[in-house]
C-alpha cells in the first residue's frame, strides 16, 4: 500500500518550512545590506526580526528531533 497522501503532505510541509526559513534569512541579509555602514537602524531591526524567525524554526526543528521535549 502506497500512502500517496503522506508523500504529498511530506513534500508540502518540507517546501513550506524551507520557504519560510530561506525566505526570512534571505530577507534579513537583504535588509542588512552588503556592509556594516550601509544599513539604517530600522532595517537592522527588521533584519534581526527575520533572523529571529529562522532561529525559532531551527528551535522547532530541535524540538521535533528530541523526543524528551514532547
Amino acid at each position: 500500500m502506497i500512502d500517496w497522501l503522506a508523500f504529498i503532505t511530506v513534500a508540502a510541509v518540507a517546501l513550506l518550512s524551507s520557504v519560510i526559513v530561506v525566505g526570512f534569512y534571505a530577507l534579513g541579509l537583504r535588509l542588512l545590506g552588503p556592509g556594516e555602514n550601509t544599513t539604517t537602524p530600522a532595517r537592522r531591526t527588521g533584519a534581526v526580526a527575520c533572523f529571529a524567525v529562522c532561529g525559532l524554526a531551527v528551535l522547532y526543528g530541535i524540538y521535533l528531533i528530541v523526543p524528551a521535549l514532547h
Binding site: V10, A14, L29, V66
Partner: protein
C-alpha cells in the same frame, strides 16, 4: 544456559491458530557457541556503525566544508558530537530494525545470530566499496539489503514482505531526491531572487546552524539501527527479554562507534557531494541544508521515512539546478543514482554468499570473518594508494596535512571533478583487471 534456538520448535501460528514449526536456520543443528556468535555479531555491528558514521558525515557537512562555512576538522568534530548526543536522545527506532521488512518477531521468521552476522558482513563490505568510490549510498539500505540477503538464504523468500520492500525502500528511494531536489530547487531560486549579490556571504553563518540541525537529525536515527541489531541478537540468544528496548551499554557503545566514524570524515564522499555534483556557493549550501533538514524532519514526523543520504544528495542536485542547470555534473549525479539502485541488491548478494558459507558451521563463520576482514583491509590499503595520487589534485581536502584551509579553492577549480572522475575510472579499471 539454555540454547536459544534448538533445531526445531513448534509454536501456535497466531494467524491461523494451527501449529507450525519455527523456521530455523541450518546452523542450529551444529555446535557453534552462542556466546561466541553474539560477541562476533556485536563486534561486526559496531564496525558497521562506524562505517555508517564516516559514510554519512557528508550528508550534513559536505556543503559547509565545500563553501568554507566550516573548516573540515571543525565540521567533522561538530558532526561527531551531534551524532554522539543524538544517539542518546531517542531510541524509538531501535525497536524494529528492519521496519517490518523481514517478518521478524513472534509472528514471523526466526532470524538467528548467524544470519545477522552474514547480513552485517554484506552491509559492511558494500559500505566500504561505496566509500572507496566516494559514492554516498544509503547505509540503511546496505543494512536492510544485507539482512534480506541473509534471511533469504537462511529462511527462504517468504522471509521478505515484498509490499513493505516496495513501500518502505523502493518508493522512498525514488521519491527522496524528487522531494528534496524539488524543494531545494525552489528555495534556491527564491534566495537568489531575494538577495543582491553583495549580501550573499551572510549565508555562510546560517550554514553552521542548518548543517548542525541536519547532523543532529541524523544522529537520532542512524545509531539506533545498530542498537536494534545488537538488541535483536541479544534477544535471539536469550540474553535479553523479548520485546525489551536496548540496554544502556548498547546505546553507549553504538553512540561512541558512530561518533568515531563520523569524526573519521569519509572525505571521499564529502568530496563527491560537496564538489562533485556542483560547485556549491554559500547561498546554495544554506538552501540545500534547509531542504535536507526540512525533508528529513517532515518525513520522520509524518510517516514517510526518507533516507538521509538520498535526501542530502537530492538537495545538492536541486540547488545546482536552481542556479543553472548546466552547473550540475550529471555524470556524477548519474553515478550516485546508480549507487542508490544497486546498494540493496548488492549488499543482499554479498550477505547471501556469506550466509551460504556460514551454513557450513563454525568453519564457515571463521571463513566469513577472515574473508570479511581481508576485504576490509584490502579496500583500506587501496584507498591509501589512491589517496596519495588525489592529494595533488585536491590539497584542500588533504586532512593529513596540518593546514585546514577552507575549500573555496577546490570549489572554484574545474579541475577537481575531472580529476576525481579520472581517479575513479582508474580505480574501477584497476579493480576489473584484478
Amino acid at each position: 544456559m539454555a540454547r536459544a534456538h534448538p533445531s526445531i520448535r513448534w509454536r501456535i501460528d497466531p494467524a491461523t491458530g494451527s501449529f507450525r514449526p519455527w523456521a530455523t536456520s541450518p546452523l542450529d543443528s551444529t555446535a557453534v557457541d552462542i556466546q561466541l556468535m553474539v560477541a562476533l555479531v556485536i563486534a561486526l555491528a559496531l564496525f558497521f556503525d562506524f562505517t555508517n558514521g564516516f559514510h554519512d558525515t557528508a550528508n550534513a557537512m559536505a556543503t559547509p566544508i565545500a563553501t568554507g562555512a566550516l573548516k573540515p576538522r571543525v565540521a567533522v568534530a561538530i558532526a561527531a558530537v551531534l551524532n554522539l548526543v543524538g544517539a542518546f536522545l531517542s531510541t524509538a527506532v531501535a525497536q524494529t530494525i528492519s521496519g517490518g521488512l523481514i517478518r521478524e518477531g513472534q509472528d514471523g521468521v526466526h532470524v538467528g545470530p548467524e544470519l545477522i552476522f552474514a547480513g552485517l558482513i554484506g552491509a559492511i563490505v558494500w559500505n566500504m566499496i561505496t566509500w572507496l568510490f566516494g559514492l554516498p549510498s544509503s547505509s540503511s539500505h546496505a543494512l536492510f539489503g544485507g539482512l534480506i540477503g541473509a534471511a533469504i538464504v537462511g529462511v527462504g523468500f517468504n522471509a521478505i514482505d515484498p509490499g513493505v520492500l516496495m513501500s518502505k525502500i523502493v518508493l522512498p528511494a525514488l521519491l527522496a531526491p524528487v522531494i528534496a531536489g524539488g524543494v531545494s530547487f525552489i528555495i534556491t531560486k527564491l534566495a537568489y531572487r531575494l538577495t543582491p549579490p553583495g549580501s550573499r556571504h551572510g549565508f555562510k553563518v546560517g550554514q553552521i546552524f542548518t548543517s548542525s540541525l541536519v547532523s543532529l537529525a541524523h544522529g537520532t536515527n542512524d545509531a539506533q539501527k545498530t542498537m536494534g541489531v545488537i538488541t535483536l541478537t541479544l534477544i535471539a540468544a536469550g540474553f535479553q527479554e523479548a520485546g525489551s528496548g536496548p540496554e544502556f551499554w548498547v546505546i553507549a557503545i553504538c553512540a561512541v562507534a558512530i561518533a568515531l566514524g563520523t569524526y573519521m570524515g569519509g572525505w571521499r564522499i564529502i568530496r563527491t557531494i560537496g564538489t562533485g555534483i556542483t560547485a556549491v556557493k554559500p547561498i546554495q549550501g544554506f538552501s540545500a541544508e534547509v531542504s535536507t533538514a526540512a525533508s528529513i524532519l517532515a518525513s520522520t514526523h509524518l510517516g514517510f521515512a526518507l533516507s538521509t543520504t538520498q535526501v542530502s544528495s537530492g538537495s545538492v542536485i536541486g540547488v545546482g539546478l536552481g542556479k543553472d542547470r548546466h552547473s550540475v555534473n550529471w555524470r556524477t549525479a548519474g553515478r550516485i543514482a546508480m549507487g542508490w539502485l544497486i546498494t540493496l541488491p548488492a549488499a543482499a548478494i554479498m550477505a547471501a554468499l556469506a550466509a551460504l558459507v556460514a551454513n557450513i558451521g563454525l568453519v564457515g563463520i571463521i571463513i566469513d570473518a577472515l574473508v570479511g576482514v581481508g576485504v576490509i583491509v584490502a579496500i583500506f590499503v587501496r584507498s591509501r594508494r589512491s589517496k596519495v595520487s588525489h592529494e595533488s589534485f585536491s590539497p584542500p581536502i588533504n586532512v593529513s596535512s596540518s593546514s585546514h584551509e577552507p575549500l573555496m579553492g577546490a570549489v572554484e577549480s574545474v579541475v577537481l571533478p575531472k580529476a576525481a572522475r579520472s581517479l575513479i575510472k582508474k580505480n574501477s579499471k584497476a579493480a576489473k583487471t584484478r
